[in-house]
């Protein structure tokens, strides 16, 4: 049973909390100690909007352990509005085929359970096609 890794990652997993570098201003996800752009310390938390678009994608039919119950599922590289590329599952895709450039938004969903039905439920970010509004904004 693993608890600590999941507990440590909860803010980024539930809510796309990354960082903005105080030195060069770049937005980082996931958060890290050193800014990969300027090499200085990155520490200011930044809550990403969750909006982005599909940069690339693939469909998984032969999943890693723990994801069997969700197959087949689509994994995408999502280009966030703020810049970073995030790897995540797509969900609620419906009948519309996923395409490069499809606008998506972050949702918090169940990722898997730790071990069997006695284990921790692990939640985190996925992306879905942007919910269509029936009325003009």
């Amino acid at each position: 049973m693993e608890i600590t890794p999941h507990w440590r990652l909860k803010k980024q997993r539930y809510n796309l909390v990354g960082e903005t570098c105080p030195h060069c201003g770049v937005k980082l996800f996931p958060p890290r100690d050193i800014c990969p752009e300027c090499g200085q310390e990155a520490k200011n938390l930044y809550n990403f909007s969750g909006k982005g678009e599909v940069y690339s994608y693939t469909t998984v039919y032969d999943p890693p352990a723990g994801y069997e119950e969700y197959t087949p599922y689509t994994v995408a590289l999502v280009k966030l509005e703020e810049g970073p590329l995030v790897t995540a599952q797509l969900t609620d895709v419906g009948q519309t085929p996923v395409e490069i450039g499809t606008p998506v938004e972050m949702v918090t969903r169940k990722l898997r359970q730790d071990g069997d039905e006695r284990g921790l439920l692990i939640y985190g970010y996925k992306f879905r096609p942007v919910l269509e509004r029936q009325l003009a904004q």
Binding site: G94, Q95, R109
Partner: protein, 354 residues
């Protein structure tokens, strides 16, 4: 009648923000009858909403809560209570509410608890939140009613046991898009529906769920609220009742003197099913999506076991600028993927895997 039966806080309270959630999958009732009755007999609704493989009361509550926050436009660290009512909490022991509070950024200076009272756990949390805000212990409190209802295969409830619900951010009346004028609760020990510990599916009392349970409690709660507030059905533009099927809310509405036009906007059960702890309150989100300033709304929930919470609500001018700041209830209803019974059986964990 005793004068102090209405629940009214010291300081006026209202709905600062609200949000709905309905998952995208739909099981037509004809699919249930195709499997279990050879397609014969009537069906109680058109279709019900089914949660995706990665959805549960935690994830659905988070989305509804984010929608409520989107409309309220407040800093989530000002919320002092996150209360989630459901009969399908994913854990037997571990709060749904701590996960929701963490995901919306309301931790750590917050109360968090899960509520349980069958289908009125959500309104129970709302009434408690009104007290919390109305006593000025808290500026804001979030109450959620959400379910992924359990229906035994082949049982009458399998047609209707749906998924969805709503979140309400309660706060000071002067900041509200709708003011809670009064509430009244009517509760007795009436065993019409239950699920024992460790049981997967609930039991119900067949026809006993009607007159002594649903109709008695909603009628008493609704008629007492009307009498105690010196109002009549004509004073309300809309009425919303707990909706386990299409007929019950229509009948109890007529018993109380409400017209079909008053209840149709909030009557969602034909297209999403019975969302249990979310049932009455997602009807209310559909009404708030379209109600105009000054409109009055009556809502009466029902929870088996049994009891009803009745609310008298008045919409304010703030609704006009806030209701479009998050998806409307009908946006979720229009997002629809139809599934067959086999897919439903897989999605709801009805296949034995080991």
């Amino acid at each position: 009648m005793a004068e102090n039966i209405l629940l009214k806080p010291t300081h006026p309270v209202g709905i600062v923000g609200y949000g709905a959630y309905v998952p995208r999958y739909r099981l037509p009732a004809t699919e249930v009858s195709r499997i279990w009755t050879d397609g014969k007999g009537g069906i109680p609704i058109k279709e019900k909403a089914v949660p995706g493989l990665d959805e549960d009361v935690v994830t659905m509550s988070i989305e509804a809560a984010r929608n409520a926050l989107g409309r309220a436009g407040i800093d989530p660290t000002e919320i002092r209570a996150v209360w989630v009512g459901s009969e399908s909490h994913p854990y037997a022991v571990k709060p749904t509410s701590t996960l929701v509070a963490e995901a919306i950024g309301a931790v750590p200076n917050v109360q968090a608890a899960d509520w349980e009272f069958a289908c009125k756990a959500g309104t129970e949390a709302m009434v408690a939140a009104i007290g919390f805000v109305g006593s000025q212990m808290a500026r804001y409190a979030l109450a959620v009613g959400m379910d992924t209802a359990q229906g035994k295969p082949g049982d009458a409830l399998e047609y209707t046991a749906g998924a969805g619900g709503a979140a309400y951010l309660l706060g000071p009346a002067e900041e509200s898009l709708a003011v809670i004028d009064h509430t009244y609760s009517f509760v007795t020990d009436t065993p019409d529906f239950w699920r024992r510990a460790y049981q997967k599916y609930p039991e119900h009392g067949q026809r006993f769920t009607g007159d002594p349970a649903y109709f008695k409690h909603i009628y008493e709660a609704g008629s007492t609220l009307l009498e105690a507030t010196d109002t009549t059905p004509e004073d309300y533009k809309y009425a919303v009742f707990h909706q386990p099927n299409t007929k019950f809310p229509q009948r109890v509405g007529a018993m109380l003197g409400f017209s079909k036009e008053q209840i149709e906007t909030g009557l969602l059960v034909p297209v999403i099913g019975n969302t249990y702890a979310g049932s009455a309150i997602i009807g209310l989100t559909a009404v708030l999506d379209v109600a105009e300033p000054g409109d009055r709304i009556m809502m009466v929930s029902f929870g088996s076991g049994a009891g009803s919470d009745a609310f008298a609500i008045t919409v304010t001018d703030a609704t006009l600028e806030r209701r479009n700041q998050a998806p409307r209830t009908q946006d979720y209803i229009a997002r629809r993927t139809e599934i067959d019974y086999a897919t439903y059986a897989r999605m709801r964990g009805k296949l034995v895997m080991k």
